[in-house]
């Protein structure tokens, strides 16, 4: 973005103002996340920077909140983490399975009522979460699944499938159907064709849809708030209660771990996106 030499002064000034504005917005976006790191190592019980921390005194930093997170008495985080992972993994599997199969059907040019069906399938993403929460709660209460893991997994499958449907249909939109026809003409049955030909080609889309579904489930709090009992507490639920009641630095330790997790997911998602674009021959 270097300016050409002949740029007039007032455009030159405008250009630097523009860069400055962009820098401010980037700072606004990313800086809040970084305030959590140092504070999670606070040796004291406060959620603000102590004098010692400002002077970089090593005694002002400690790992006590991380220890509290793992070994603390009566601490809820262990159970919450276990529940969160179990629920998210099963919800992801369910979403990927249902979503991929549905996307295959939707991408077929023979699909009747495509617009209406697509709208129905992605509706959980469009409807505000609070409404989805109320509706899903009514269903689960009637089905006797409120306050069970099964109920929460089903709820998260509902919320996760639209992402899988969208990413997989997007991947399939650049899909060359002659390869499956070639496979069929060589005597392969449909299941074999799918496993050996279609799936490897659309796998990046499937996985990135799965990542979306995983994050949706792992981070979801509104629906779980309606559904969860004491036994089904998840990490977001614990953070929600913690933030409402006693704001302890342990939450920051947990938050730091979550940021690290999301960084890992971000890197995976980016690598997948690039791989998918390469496979589909899209050059940007």
């Amino acid at each position: 973005m270097a300016l050409p030499k002949y740029t007039e002064p007032h455009y030159r000034i405008w250009h630097y103002v523009y860069i400055f504005i962009c820098a401010c917005v980037f700072f606004f976006l990313i800086a809040p996340l970084f305030v959590i790191f140092p504070l999670s190592f606070n040796a004291e019980e406060f959620l603000s920077f102590s004098e010692g921390m400002k002077n970089l005194d090593p005694d002002a930093f400690s790992l006590r909140w991380y220890k509290d997170m793992i070994y603390g008495t009566k601490n809820p985080w262990g159970l919450a983490a276990k529940n969160s992972f179990i629920i998210a993994i099963f919800a992801t599997l369910g979403s990927v399975l249902l979503g991929t199969v549905a996307a295959l059907g939707l991408s077929s040019r023979h699909m009747p009522y495509k617009g209406l069906v697509m709208a129905t399938l992605i509706s959980p993403m469009i409807v505000p979460l609070i409404i989805s929460g109320v509706a899903i709660f009514f269903f689960m209460a009637k089905a006797g699944l409120a306050a069970t893991h099964t109920g929460i997994v089903l709820a998260h499958i509902i919320l996760g499938t639209p992402f899988v449907v969208i990413t997989v249909t997007a991947t399939l939109s650049g899909f060359d159907h002659s390869v499956t026809r070639a496979a069929s003409s060589l005597g392969s049955d449909p299941v074999n064709t799918f496993m050996k030909i279609t799936l490897p080609l659309i796998l990046p889309g499937v996985i990135s849809g799965g990542l979306f579904a995983f994050v949706t489930s792992f981070d979801e709090v509104v629906v779980v708030l309606f559904l969860a009992g004491l036994e089904n507490t998840t990490i977001p639920i614990q953070m929600w209660t913690g933030l409402r009641e006693q704001l302890s630095p342990t939450i920051l330790a947990v938050a730091t771990c979550l940021i690290i997790l999301s960084t890992l997911i971000l890197v995976t998602a980016e690598l997948l996106r690039r791989r998918s674009e390469r496979l589909r021959g899209i050059n940007r």
Partner: protein, 417 residues
């Protein structure tokens, strides 16, 4: 003769047209069968329950079922004078049955919604009714409390006879049906819901505007920078996007608290005195700041994906034809980004209008939105039919926005990264 020459047969001797149609139908069924599991799953667990919300929101069978005899005998009563003895007798019988089944408490809650003052007189009636003599219930009931002799209360009961009601929707807009059956506003100082609707719209609108103003320049920068820089800066957008909502809300709670980093900074540069730090959380400011940052990536990504497709040569062409950079931008570049602006604004507005977690944590009393009210009625007052009614009103609003958007821009023009 001519039709015979047109008819082409397949090797099986079936006309080609028929055979093709058959194959087509088979393909249709195949495609539909693939979609069917998810469609069925969503219909049962999601779409029908939304219909169930609709039923609950208008359902008023509870009272209808609790006082069956009363309402039957009330059919003949015109509601002008005190009801006849028959009504009193059937009311007494219905009520005694409810007391036996220990359901009279529910009745009193329900009737109290319609008219204040039922709770105490029903309690009194329950006590006195034990010693009632057979016959002449009218006088005996009217003796229990003077309100039982007031025709207004009997009219209030009659109003609960229909099995369906619009009262929850009216309540959601701070209106009610008065004794004459006219729809009127509640008193000025009790109009809480309208304030909430307006505030929700206001916050959603300004958050969308703020997001747009912030996202446009950085999306433009990301789209025009060379790949190796833009990839790095893209992380600044994507990392918050993938980070837990609660983590981001927590970080804002730390930043905005009175002893927080933002206030420390303001004190340091001398903007505010140390002993009078402004309250930036638990009010609208907190909601605005946190929601804007949290929803910003949803605006940047669609804008970026649209801007990425705009060829830089267009700007050069505009400039070479004599346009100043500003004119070229406004006449050439900006119109091309409108699909991205539309998609981003729609996304952010819809997300903001149904926001719950962040306003509940940093919003305090003056920064809460309509979703907080829905959650409150779901979890605290347990008035689920009212929560359903409010939810459906919100849903209707959201669908209306989609409809308008579709008319103006076309929903197919949405690009989500």
């Amino acid at each position: 003769m001519s039709s015979e020459t047109k008819q082409i047969l397949t090797t099986d001797g079936i006309p080609l047209e028929v055979s093709l149609k058959k194959a087509e139908r088979k393909n249709k069924i195949k495609a539909f069968l693939l979609v069917a599991p998810l469609l069925l799953f969503l219909l049962i667990t999601y779409i029908f329950p939304i219909g169930d919300m609709l039923m609950r929101s208008v359902d008023d069978k509870m009272v209808t079922e609790m006082l069956p005899k009363t309402f039957k005998s009330m059919e003949k009563w015109d509601g002008n004078e005190m009801p006849p003895e028959e009504v009193f007798e059937s009311f007494y019988l219905d009520f005694q049955k409810l007391v036996e089944e220990k359901r009279d408490g529910k009745l009193s809650t329900q009737l109290n919604y319609t008219k204040n003052g039922f709770k105490s007189i029903l309690k009194k009636l329950r006590r006195k009714a034990k010693n009632f003599e057979e016959g002449n219930y009218k006088e005996q009931i009217m003796d229990v409390h003077k309100r039982w002799a007031n025709v207004e209360y009997w009219r209030a009961i009659k109003r609960r006879a229909p099995a369906y009601t619009s009262s929850k929707y009216l309540k959601g807009m701070d209106m009610y049906k008065n004794e004459e059956g006219k729809i009127v506003n509640v008193e000025e100082d009790r109009r809480i819901h309208r304030i909430l609707w307006l505030r929700t719209l206001e916050i959603a609108f300004f958050v969308t505007l703020l997001c747009f103003l912030m996202a446009y320049p950085i999306a433009h920068l990301l789209a025009t920078l060379p790949m190796k820089y833009s990839n790095l800066l893209m992380i600044c957008v994507l990392l918050p996007f993938w980070t837990s909502l609660l983590v981001r809300t927590a970080s804002w709670m730390i930043l905005l608290q009175q002893q927080g980093v933002v206030n420390d900074f303001f004190v340091m540069i001398g903007l505010v005195p140390d002993d009078n730090r402004p309250e930036m959380m638990y009010n609208k400011t907190g909601t605005y700041v946190a929601m804007t940052q949290i929803l910003l990536p949803f605006m940047v990504l669609p804008l970026y994906s649209v801007m990425k497709t705009i060829s830089p040569s267009l700007m050069r062409a505009g400039k070479s034809l004599g346009g100043t950079p500003f004119v070229t931008f406004w006449k050439v570049y900006f119109p091309l980004t409108i699909p991205g602006i539309g998609a981003g604004c729609l996304l952010v507005f819809i997300l903001a209008i149904g926001y719950y977690i962040t306003p509940a944590l940093v919003g305090g009393a003056s920064g809460t939105l309509i979703s907080n009210q829905i959650a409150f009625h779901m979890k605290s007052t347990l008035d689920w039919s009212f929560a359903s009614a409010m939810g459906l009103m919100l849903l209707a609003g959201v669908l209306a926005i989609y409809w308008i958007y579709n008319k103006l821009v076309g929903i197919d023009n949405i690009k989500l990264g």
